[in-house]
Amino acid sequence: MAQEKSLSKEQQAAYWRRTSTLMWTVLALWFFFGFVIHIFAPQLNNINIIGFPIGFWFAAQGSLIVFVVLCFWSSSAQNKIDEEFGVTED
């Protein structure tokens, strides 16, 4: 690791606020696609696209795709915050 980077108290607090907001956003999406949408699976199953009842499809594949995208997206969004505050490594 390169030279010591020190943030002021205010900067540190602002950095953590931004990071926390991102965290809560990700968790809200995780909660929606992990739980909320599946509560409606019996109703969603009435819709059928190329053979897939949509309620079934979300639990089998749709939510999984969202999880993968969410992991990559949150990591790049956090990197942007790090760069903005100049707290990246090296």
């Binding site: 690791m1 390169a2 010591e4 980077k5 020190s6 943030l7 540190q12 950095y15 953590w16 990071t19 926390s20 991102l22 965290m23 990700v26 968790l27 995780w30 696609f33 992990g34 739980f35 599946h38 509560i39 699976a41 019996p42 199953n45 696209i49 190329i50 053979g51 897939f52 009842p53 309620g55 079934f56 499809w57 639990a59 089998a60 594949q61 939510s63 999984l64 795709i65 999880f67 993968v68 969410l70 992991c71 990559f72 949150s74 990591s75 956090q78 990197n79 790090d82 505050f85 100049g86 707290v87 990246t88 490594e89 090296d90």
Partner: protein
């Protein structure tokens, strides 16, 4: 890459090395296929598959031997995000994921999707709440973090207790799985097969620790994903004309729905939250969501997964590697429902309703293997009815190559994939357990003056000890093992999630709060499990005990918060330490009084 640290040329050439390896593996498979056509017997093909793949893992294990502590415990922290993702994928996906999950989806329909969801969604939590901060903290084990954040031996010991109880039963199940696959594949007795498997596990991990396990896990991922995808891709091409099972099994679902009507099956494959009569059941819905919740939180608490994120070169890479991890896991999990659907389509259309004398060849073949598939003509009419065939979880993946009419070499490939899945998970778990004992108990608590040489000798002796213990337990074929594996997630969730997450995200968490929370959460979970499983205790609100974390986790959370608020806030030094692990850059400001390396 032997001797001292991994050479940059090795890391820079990973793509070439593993590309060549993949090509060689495909080549060997083709050669074995040709040998089969030339009349080489199936057993020989099976033995060659096992010997060649275990030989390659052993070779990687040997080349990766090391005499350095950081190499042994965290692979020298040089593993790029992409490869750490692959290693995590095979670390994560066990024999159960590879062999049994598609079968569970076949048997349970929508109900089984809780596993698919639960075993992927947890990575979102790993990515946002834990991985980058554990990487910044930058020590060797998960109990290390508890020790540094909460001070003293008590939190470390509590962490080790949770880790052991979650991981040991899990590793026993993997050794059991290795024995089962090896005995089915090459026909050696189960007891011997367990030790063959054990050897396969130890050669990967003993000489090189985490470094060797990492590079073998990458190799094992490549084999397991090829082996998983090939049979179902071919089956999809045969049945639908398009080799994309993940997209085309919608057609299978439609056919299944139509056949269910004809065969009078009440509980439809795609129907959500239904009981045996096909009616909506609130209890089913609650249990489904509870299971998903416990599996997700458990994923984010299992030490053999979290420790993989100690091995990346930077915080940034750790974050990205969670993305790659879930991507590589996703490739298998979003294919599993297709396996289940194609198999069900086949069974409903070509097996049930057929004269028993004329069943497809794969049914006859697998009904010879005890316990996997049974056909009984209960009403004696010579026609197979819905209730007259019983399938075991494991049969779907194992039989798919034959359903598709593929040569034996593909079955051998699938078995090699299952073996890779079981071995890689066993390696990761074994290392997590042995490292907790050698690093956290021996070095941190018993003998902090130990030299590098002594530490590594102790680490290896413990590794062998734990491995042999796991094999001995597996040999007794404990019936309860399957349920115990599922419990591991709830136990880890109740015992570790709260102290880890609040340790980073809530500065006010005190040592007393964390310890009380761990004891209370883990304790409630264990009480519910043992009470309902062995002493006939009634279920609370109808929640099955596989989801006992649903009670343990809130208890852990509330107790941690309440006790923390009742005890004095952590010192200024501790707060600075937390601040320092929250940002990727800069040094970690360890608390002086708490000795770290």
């Amino acid at each position: 890459m032997a001797g001292s640290g991994a050479s940059p040329s090795f890391i820079n050439n990973l793509g070439k090395i593993y590309g060549l390896y993949t090509g060689a593996f495909v080549g060997v498979t083709i050669v074995l296929g040709i040998m089969e056509q030339l009349g080489v017997p199936n057993e020989t093909i099976g033995i060659l598959f096992v010997a060649l793949t275990i030989g390659v893992y052993a070779l990687i294990g040997y080349i990766s031997r090391t005499a350095q502590v950081a190499e042994y415990y965290v692979a020298g922290r040089v593993v790029p995000a992409f490869y750490n993702g692959m290693a995590t994928g095979s670390d994560w996906m066990s024999a159960a994921s590879f062999i049994s999950m598609a079968g569970s989806l076949y048997l349970l329909g929508y109900g089984g999707l809780g596993f698919v969801l639960g075993w992927t969604g947890g990575y979102v939590l790993v990515a946002t709440l834990l991985a980058p901060y554990l990487r910044k903290f930058g020590q060797f084990t998960v109990p290390d973090f508890l020790g540094a954040r909460y001070g003293g031996h008590v939190p470390r010991v509590l962490g080790i207790i949770v880790l052991m109880s979650a991981s040991f039963t899990y590793v026993v199940a993997q050794v059991f799985g290795v024995g089962l696959i090896a005995s089915r594949l090459i026909g050696i007795p189960f007891d011997v097969a367990v030790y063959v498997g054990l050897l396969g596990i130890l050669v990967c991990s003993m000489l090189g620790g985490m470094r060797a396990v990492t590079w073998t896990q990458v190799a094992q991922y490549i084999i397991l994903i090829i082996a998983y995808l090939i049979p179902v891709v071919i089956l999809s091409a045969q049945k639908t004309g398009i080799p994309l099972p993940q997209l085309m099994y919608g057609r299978a679902l439609q056919e299944i729905a139509a056949l269910e009507g004809k065969l009078g099956i009440a509980r439809a494959h795609s129907s959500a939250f239904v009981d045996a009569t096909g009616k909506f059941s609130m209890n089913e819905m609650i249990n489904f969501l509870a299971l998903v919740f416990c599996l997700m939180i458990g994923t984010a608490s299992l030490p053999h997964i979290l420790m993989r994120y100690f091995t990346t070169p930077s915080v940034r890479e750790a974050r990205k590697s969670v993305g790659w991890s879930i991507f590589f896991i996703f490739l298998l999990y979003f294919t599993a429902p297709a396996y289940a659907a194609f198999a069900k389509w086949e069974v409903y259309s070509n097996v049930i309703g057929q004269p028993i004398a004329q069943l497809p060849a794969w049914v006859a073949k697998w009904s010879e293997v005890a316990g996997l598939l049974t056909v009984k003509d209960l009403n004696g009419d010579g026609i197979l009815q819905v209730g007259e065939i019983t399938l075991n979880n494991d049969i779907i993946v194992l039989a798919t190559p034959e359903i598709a009419g593929l040569p034996y070499v593909v079955s051998g490939l699938v078995a090699a994939g299952g073996l890779a899945a079981a071995l890689s998970t066993a390696d990761g778990l074994l290392l997590a357990i042995a490292n907790a004992l050698s690093h956290d108990v021996y070095y941190k608590m018993i003998n902090p003056q130990a030299s590098t040489k002594v530490r590594l000798i102790v680490a290896r002796v413990i590794l062998i000890g734990v491995a042999v213990a796991a094999a001995e337990v597996a040999k007794t074929k404990p019936a309860v093992i399957v349920s115990m594996v599922a419990w591991a997630f709830s136990l880890a969730a109740a015992g570790l999630f709260v102290p880890l997450v609040l340790g980073v995200w809530w500065k006010r968490t005190t040592s007393a709060g964390a310890c009380a929370g761990m004891i209370a959460g883990f304790g409630i979970c264990l009480f519910y499990l043992i009470g309902t499983q062995f002493y006939g205790m009634p279920l609370w609100w109808g929640i099955r005990n596989i989801s006992c974390g649903l009670f343990g986790l809130p208890v852990a959370f509330i107790v941690t918060v309440v006790v923390s608020l009742m005890t004095p806030a952590p010192s200024k030094e501790m707060q600075d330490f937390i601040d320092s692990i929250r940002v990727p850059g800069g040094k970690v400001k360890h608390v002086e009084a708490i000795k770290v390396e």
